[in-house]
Symmetry: C2
Amino acid sequence: MSILVVGSVAFDSVETPFGRVDNVLGGSATYFSTSASFFTDVNLVAVVGEDFPQEHVDFLSSRNIDLQGLAREKGKTFHWQGRYGYDLNEAQTLATHLNVFETFKPRIPATYGGADYLFLANIDPDLQMEVLNQVERPRIIACDTMNYWISSKPEALKRVIERVDIFIINEGEARQLSGEANLVKAARKLLDLGVKTLIVKRGEYGVLMFNRASVFAAPAYPLEEVFDPTGAGDTFAGGFMGYLANTGDTSDEGIRQAIIFGSVMASFNVEDFSLNRLKSLGYEEIEARYRSFKAMTHFQGLPEATTAL
Amino acid sequence: MSILVVGSVAFDSVETPFGRVDNVLGGSATYFSTSASFFTDVNLVAVVGEDFPQEHVDFLSSRNIDLQGLAREKGKTFHWQGRYGYDLNEAQTLATHLNVFETFKPRIPATYGGADYLFLANIDPDLQMEVLNQVERPRIIACDTMNYWISSKPEALKRVIERVDIFIINEGEARQLSGEANLVKAARKLLDLGVKTLIVKRGEYGVLMFNRASVFAAPAYPLEEVFDPTGAGDTFAGGFMGYLANTGDTSDEGIRQAIIFGSVMASFNVEDFSLNRLKSLGYEEIEARYRSFKAMTHFQGLPEATTAL
């Protein structure tokens, strides 16, 4: 099954304690698609400017990402500039130049047909709604957002959320959107909006998944070298949705495995700047790290022999 | 096997967003012993003042905690006053009155005999060393500390650490003591001091365990009502050491299970002020929550059918 993703393709300039890069390939749809492409076909809808080099187009195509939905407009490509300190959980945005992204109107090419799996990356909730109105009901709709939209367009965002199956957000955003400091209460409120599965990203602390029947806690992979957390959330979402689309298993069990694949992909992505690590990544490495997650979280069930005093 | 614990027995006055209590039973050795008492016999070494009521002595005795090592000195019992905001991970200390604890010299009663399992709760590392010098080498020595000792007595603390098997500290303390922002690097440095097992407590994010052969990540139990985090770390350590002493299984597998039992005990303790929740806790509840931890962390191993594109 193929995935349709609508989001940003961008240039990033990033500074971390370990180095800096200028005008490298970035954007939510880029990280998502590349990560998902290890598991399934991806159809991408985004916009770039005249300055977007063929080299990046070639890379995305080489990953079997369909680019008929990648519009090229007069002007410059979206550019984000940010910095991370030693606390790599928190980015400081130094500059955001929307450029061609400012007037972006997502148009789904007719050739993409019906999307079975749709990921609405972090864009204006009004645009997310426009996408929902352009497609027949996909089998699974997932979406992301950010603090900016929670503050500026909470009602538009809630209308989108009512129509999605899987909502993927940061811990702080879950608290902000629900108005609840306690994460379990926050999760309950967000599930009450109609979301079936809520995935709360907690950076280096991993992921919590809530649905009506169960809670799943996945750790992040403890890495000795975290070079650049940019794109980790979208890379997680790409691995997660990619695996779901690959297997078609959207049971609680299937979603848990997909969360681990998402966590695996994110753990690789932060090992280098931009998409450099994903570019050199092989599928055997993904499987090996999945096994490491399994080993890292393993413990035995309740032994029969335990007795209370 | 019985456990010897040396630490504080105290009065706490605590304010959280959910209420406040004054002069309630607290202290590291109190939380540790009560928690461990669900799994094994405990011998306690601590000091209280003339104001320590019989009611608390009776409670500890009722938990099969041996109090021959609980010295009663002229003066008042150690009193800690603190406050938590909505971020329940961080206590703000409002007042610390050491009182009789200021001149505390731990003396291990001869009747305690050799200790198989020893827990050095968070006290002055010089006193921790005095305890080590009073006992024959226990089978397992675990110890805790705090930022105050890391800053004021780092060398004394390192001499203690060199002699312990299991070192249990907070994430921030691991970074502070090692001088490494990255937790994996921090863990490596602390293992290099001679510790066999390092347990890093991350509050609501759970626990990471490092040894030379493996890493284990355990989540915290996501609770809808966290009333008072006071004593959570010592309650964790009590459940952890209690289970180890109960089974005698100090293999990697046994330590992982003990970590889950510690996490279970801590998750109950924060549900009410002081030791109120532990007082009403039954062993069936402990087992039920252990099963919840198992369900919450479960995911299937790598499916054979997964194929890369």
